[in-house]
């Protein structure tokens, strides 16, 4: 297969990932047979590892490695999670290929899992740390949506900063049934614990206002 990244994109990504100091492991789940964008997603992640040595890739099969899939609550493919240098999972998940505009939220998640400091105000950090309920955040996106990476980045940051929170990007075109189930016809659409909805690229304060009321 031809490369997904051209030279210019490789240079841009290289420049950004130069600031990723800690090791990151991406664990990708695919499956044999019919799987929309599984091979492209695998290739995308492989090309990232070729740009940056300290970013590793493990490819698993959702059926053969079902124990591990269960551990990370993987229910669809392609889906991948990010692990830090101690191979710990902080609830940062991508369902579907993070191409197009979504490459930006993917690069942010890699950097911040590698230890790059998350720029939130001290009082925001305090509010995040105090959240004590289990939270699942789904952010539905399309790859042509310029406002979506911001929403995904905020949700993933919340997950990194609080062990009670897990956050997943869902590419709406890849997972159409799920999008229909959640009535997604506009993105970004944020669904918190299956029932609370936020629309658009909301600031972290808007996420917090909802999370604090759970």
């Amino acid at each position: 297969m031809a490369k997904l990244f051209n030279e210019e994109v490789v240079a841009q990504i290289g420049e950004i990932l130069a600031q990723a100091h800690g090791e990151v492991t991406m664990v990708l789940f695919t499956k044999e047979g019919e799987c929309y964008t599984c091979s492209e997603t695998k290739q995308l992640l492989t090309e990232i590892t070729e740009i940056k040595d300290s970013i590793k890739l493990e490819v698993k099969d959702i059926d053969e490695d079902s124990e591990l899939a269960k551990k990370y609550d993987i229910t669809m493919v392609p889906s991948f999670v990010l692990l830090d240098s101690k191979k710990e999972y902080h609830g940062v998940k991508f369902n579907g290929i993070p191409a197009g505009h979504e490459i930006n939220s993917f690069l942010s998640a890699l950097l911040e899992t590698a230890g790059y400091e998350i720029a939130f105000a001290p009082e925001v950090l305090d509010r995040i740390k105090k959240l004590d309920k289990k939270v699942n955040i789904k952010v539905f996106v399309t790859l042509s949506c310029p406002h979506c990476p911001g929403a995904v980045q905020t949700a993933h940051r919340l997950a990194m900063l609080n062990p009670n929170i897990e956050s997943e990007m869902i590419e709406a075109q890849t997972f159409q049934e799920l999008s229909m189930k959640y009535n997604v016809s506009g993105v970004p659409k944020i669904v918190i614990n299956e029932k609370h909805e936020l629309l658009g690229n909301q600031p972290v304060e808007a996420f917090l206002a909802t999370l604090e009321k759970l």
């Binding site: 950004i16 790059y116 016809s185 993105v187």
Partner: protein
């Protein structure tokens, strides 16, 4: 098959509290970027604060009226802008947004959501606009449940469906062209008549299953879990009629993002910032450029030009106050 639109600049911020900047630009669209370029070339100590690098360019698919490019994608034009800006090394701050501006002893103090505090001799507001809403019953209820304000983002959800597009300007005509690749039927509502460029309107003739209602406005959006249709109003006969549709794209212009300075400067009744011939607002040292100003023609090239004007005027102003 897949493209990658990287607009992230990840560098350690240089926006420390110890610097007194010559000019801080708020906004990273055409006005803000061009102002950054001009200010830097004048030797000013300039920084840009923006969450949305590229601004409204990113919402635009094809741009056919920007001098020098017969036809260019909005994201690609934004990338050209950024490469140009990068060549003169203007620092960008992309984390956090400005929550407060005040002026004290001839200096502007900016408070950011990420806890940063910035001081500057002048400030340029280039915050652009956000999609204007219809303000009708059902609009909020069915937002992202059929009602959308971003054709590039949401077009794929309406494959082989019937959608309504509201608006008669260039952004509406461009949205119709984009959406026609997905939807199988498009109905257009225009309050009066086309304001879009004749060349764009002509192109709409090639689209199959396109119906245009002139002198027609939206009265109500109805539905259950998702929108099912609208009640339209013919503004001449006062006749109301239903249109069943799966989705609706609202393309009726923008509202200015002027909230941040609404208590500091004079605005017109549209909420747009009133500026003088040098792009200065009613508050000395505070400038505005681009779609956020009262300048009525919202065009990329005009926003960029206002940014240039503002930067040159700021340079002159700073020279004057030095003397």
């Amino acid at each position: 098959m897949f493209s990658f639109s990287i607009d992230k600049e990840v560098k350690q911020s240089v926006f420390s509290e110890n610097i007194l900047w010559d000019v801080i630009i708020i906004g990273g669209g055409p006005a803000g970027i061009n102002a950054g370029l001009y200010a830097k070339r004048k030797g000013l100590n300039v920084g840009i604060i923006t969450k949305d690098l590229g601004g409204q360019l990113l919402n635009t698919n094809l741009i056919d009226n920007y001098l020098g490019f017969t036809s260019i994608n909005g994201g690609d034009l934004a990338r050209e802008y950024l490469n140009h800006l990068k060549s003169v090394e203007v620092p960008l701050h992309q984390e956090g947004y400005v929550t407060n501006i005040s002026k004290e002893n001839g200096e502007f103090n900016l408070v950011l959501s990420d806890g940063l505090f910035i001081r500057s001799k002048t400030v340029l507001i280039a915050t652009g606009g956000a999609p204007r809403k219809l303000g009708v019953k059902g609009e909020e209820e069915f937002a992202n449940r059929g009602v959308s304000y971003c054709a590039t983002c949401d077009a794929p959800f309406f494959k082989d469906q019937h959608i309504i597009v509201v608006g008669g300007g260039n952004s509406s005509a461009e949205a119709i062209i984009d959406l026609s690749k997905w939807a199988n039927k498009i109905t257009v509502l225009i309050r009066s008549t086309w304001r879009a460029d004749a060349i764009l309107v002509e192109r709409l003739n090639e689209i199959k299953n396109l119906t245009v209602h002139f002198n027609t406005s939206t009265k109500e959006i109805y539905g259950n879990i998702k929108m099912d249709g609208i009640i339209a109003l013919n503004r001449i006969t006062n006749e109301e009629f239903k249109i069943e549709a799966d989705g609706m794209f609202v393309e009726i212009g923008t509202t200015p993002n002027s909230n941040l300075v609404k208590d500091l400067v004079e605005l017109n009744n549209q909420g747009e910032i009133i500026v003088d011939e040098n792009q200065m607002t009613s508050l000395e040292g505070l400038y505005a450029a681009g779609d956020v100003t009262a300048q009525p023609q919202k065009q990329i090239i005009i926003a960029a030009a206002e940014g240039a004007k503002a930067a040159l005027a700021i340079n002159q102003y700073l020279n004057q106050i030095k003397e």
